[in-house]
Symmetry: C2
Subunit: 143 residues, 2 copies
DNA sequence: AATAAAAGTTAGCTGAGCCTAACTTGATTA
DNA sequence: TAATCAAGTTAGGCTCAGCTAACTTTTATT
């Protein structure tokens, strides 16, 4: 067969989907629930766009959504959300260790986090540990 | 004023625009010219899509395009193209030094290259030099 | 020079993901 | 409890960047 592994699944979570799930997980972890209005504010998009996407994420089995009532992540959705969150945290740690400005870090991480595959995540984790373990290395980075 | 620096410019080169310019530069550097059919093959999209985009890039001042005749990059286009090419090369070198498989490197670089800003480029260059200079460090990365 | 093949273009369509405006639902409070 | 206001939803529209099918132009072959 042409398609990989699971025959009836969502179309390999796009950048937008990952951004939504990441934000939703963060809201749930911090406030206990995720409202449309907060997701919209967090992603700096309109509430209408959020409603739309949330309906699609429900259809795709990434969350359970009840009109006007609220939403919860499904295990599948939480897996994606945790994965992107981990990549976000890792890249933030890594770039920060290189001495980059927090604003640059945030901006670049937001772009990069959607594009690193598991082996690369592991390799950067390894490198990050090394840089932490041996602060002297960091001193050699200037210029 | 609200918009930055130059009032009448292209909309801050999207991922797609960067992909086109990168491919065009590579074709010009290797064969001396860039044909629609080769750009299409390189990016794995239809010739029609290339024609469309090339017209837009002309409008945006990133290349000079003459129907049926061919195209050349403008200085502005070449600047963008060289910048993305540099980022591509740098990320490829960097991830390869971490011991990642060539296919993974290629895939991830293609995603990441559009999202690293100049300070991050410089920081990763610095780190890459360090890893090259001290091969023993690389040995400590496994696990 | 005629014709066949390759390259390039146009027209029209699609889907993702955003928007605004107008409407509905639910929560708050007078 | 009724009115108000915040939150949520729907409808319709836009841009970007891709597609196919049909057509035109250029190049190559005979």
């Amino acid at each position: 067969m042409k398609c990989s592994a699971n025959s009836r699944s969502a179309p390999a979570s796009s950048v937008a989907v990952e951004d939504y799930l990441e934000r939703i997980l963060e809201l749930i972890d911090s406030k206990g629930y995720a409202r449309v209005v907060d997701i919209a504010a967090g992603l700096k998009i309109s509430q209408a766009s959020v409603t739309n996407m949330v309906q699609r994420l429900d259809t795709d089995g990434l969350l359970k959504y009840e009109k006007y009532r609220g939403l919860v992540l499904t295990p599948a959705g939480e897996t994606v959300a945790r994965s992107i969150t981990r990549r976000h945290q890792l890249l933030t740690d890594f770039l920060s260790l290189l001495g980059l400005d927090a604003r640059v870090v945030e901006h670049d991480v937001e772009g990069m986090e959607h594009h690193i595959s598991p082996p690369t995540v592991r390799a950067i984790e390894s490198l990050t540990r090394l840089l932490r373990r041996r602060p002297a290395l960091r001193a050699q980075l200037t210029k």
